[in-house]
Amino acid sequence: MERILEEIPSFFTYWNIIFLLKAMGVTLLLTLLGCIFGFTFGILLAITRKTENLYLLPLRILVIFFTEIFRRIPFLVTLLLIFYIFQIFQITDSVFLIALYSVCLIATAYIGEIIRSGIESVNQEQWDAAKAMNFSYIQTLKEVIFPQAWKVILPPAFGFFILFIKDTALASQIGVMELTFAGKILNNKGFSPVLVFGSILILYFILSFPLDRFGKYMEKRIATDRN
């Protein structure tokens, strides 16, 4: 304990703090971009999967295939797979970009599934009523289905986002300088692991807590139950 207290002044130097904040920024960026891409493409995936249009059948099958694959393999496997595929084709994207692609793939598959089940939670009769009044598929989704589905979609989606912040730690495996990796480096430099990873823990909390609050806020705002 004394050792930790002694180390504090030398640990929280300007350079170490900048180093940690940068790593935190990487974690934040991976999470945020992953969530934003995941949410956008997840919506597209879910509405493609629900369409009845026959011409889109091949696309639907592709979407189902994609979702079922990427929901089932561990994030680390996706990450390594993409990392090595990029090596084979000699694509020289940075490890950060490779991690970002993987994060987007996984997030899209997961969130797509969350959104699909949200859409399906809305009664078929709501679709019928909209159809009978000449609503198009997209109009029905926008005006009728999504406003009712948010309350089913948002809680698990934000739960996933929070999990996701933690999952990005795996990106350290391919050398992305995110929070966990930064912790390892500081630890290797000789700082007490308790001090280092204690700080990392607090930084993860600082990242995830506002996201959680934001989720609760959104739930209240757009997913109020009218029944």
Binding site: E125, Q126, D128, A129, A130, K131, A132, M133, N134, F135, Q139, E143, V144, P147, Q148, R226, N227
Partner: protein, 256 residues
């Protein structure tokens, strides 16, 4: 010649269904069914459950597709594979569902106004004032801002009626609109429908309220196993049914 043609056209029924068959989940729900509905006429469809009454109404708004036969709405043969034709059919025909199917995420006024403004692209003020007038007519002017979940079944069904009417349909389809309601709420909905009948609205009505059917209909069709068994004026059909299946059905409902 043109003048003559116009006269001839007026005589045409508003909806003509010719030998239509349809299946739902591999089950034949309509079987070579033919019926027509003339302008300003009220035709009620009665029959045991599963006889195809509701399916017939769903067919007319394109929620069910025929496997054979013809549906002609206002002189236009509807091709159920064509989006334009379905849009045409739905612009002429409005349906009120058994379970009201109000949009749960919208208040009463928005439920009644959304399709006319967003889909039919009509003027917002005109649509809203018409909506308020309709809601007043069904006795719900004080509920404009209420959500469906806050209303009783009878109130919801009257909102659904106003919503259908605000589309300015030529033909109104009522699908067992009172059967999900508590008995004391039935009359408030039936009274609203009677008002419409007085105004000459063309309607297909599926109902189990035999007293109401007898009173309001110009003709009543008895359906069984997906086709029209017998169609006649209400007192003829109720008091003097010709077909044995109709007789059987009538004797059962009288016993009840």
């Amino acid at each position: 010649m043109i003048g003559l043609e116009n006269i001839w056209r007026k005589e045409l029924p508003q909806i003509e269904i010719k030998s239509v068959s349809a299946s739902y989940e591999k089950l034949k729900v309509l079987d070579n069914l033919s019926i027509e509905l003339n302008k300003g006429e009220i035709v009620s469809l009665i029959g045991p459950s599963g006889s195809g009454k509701s399916r017939l109404l769903k067919l007319l708004v394109g929620l069910l597709k025929p496997t054979s036969g013809e549906v002609i709405i206002e002189d236009k043969k509807i091709n159920f594979g064509s989006k334009e034709d379905l849009i045409f059919a739905r612009s002429k025909v409005a349906i009120v569902f058994q379970q009201y199917n109000l949009f749960q995420n919208m208040d009463v006024l928005k439920n009644v106004c959304i399709a006319p403004t967003k889909i039919q692209k009509r003027d917002k003020d005109e649509v809203e004032s018409q909506a308020i007038a309709l809601l007043e007519k069904v006795g719900l002017k004080d509920k404009l801002k209420a959500y469906p979940g806050e209303l009783s079944g009878g109130q919801q069904q009257r909102v659904a009626l106003a919503r259908a009417l605000n589309l300015n349909p030529q033909i109104l389809l009522l699908d067992e609109v009172t059967s999900a309601l508590d008995p004391e709420l039935v009359n408030e909905v039936l009274n609203s429908i009677k008002l419409l009948a007085d105004e000459g609205m063309t309607m297909f009505i599926v109902s189990h309220e035999m007293g109401f059917v007898k009173e309001i209909s110009n003709r009543v069709a008895f359906l069984d196993k997906g086709s029209v068994v017998e169609i006649n004026k209400p007192d003829q059909l109720f008091n003097n049914p010709q077909n044995s299946r109709t007789k059987d059905f009538m004797s059962k409902i009288i016993k009840e």
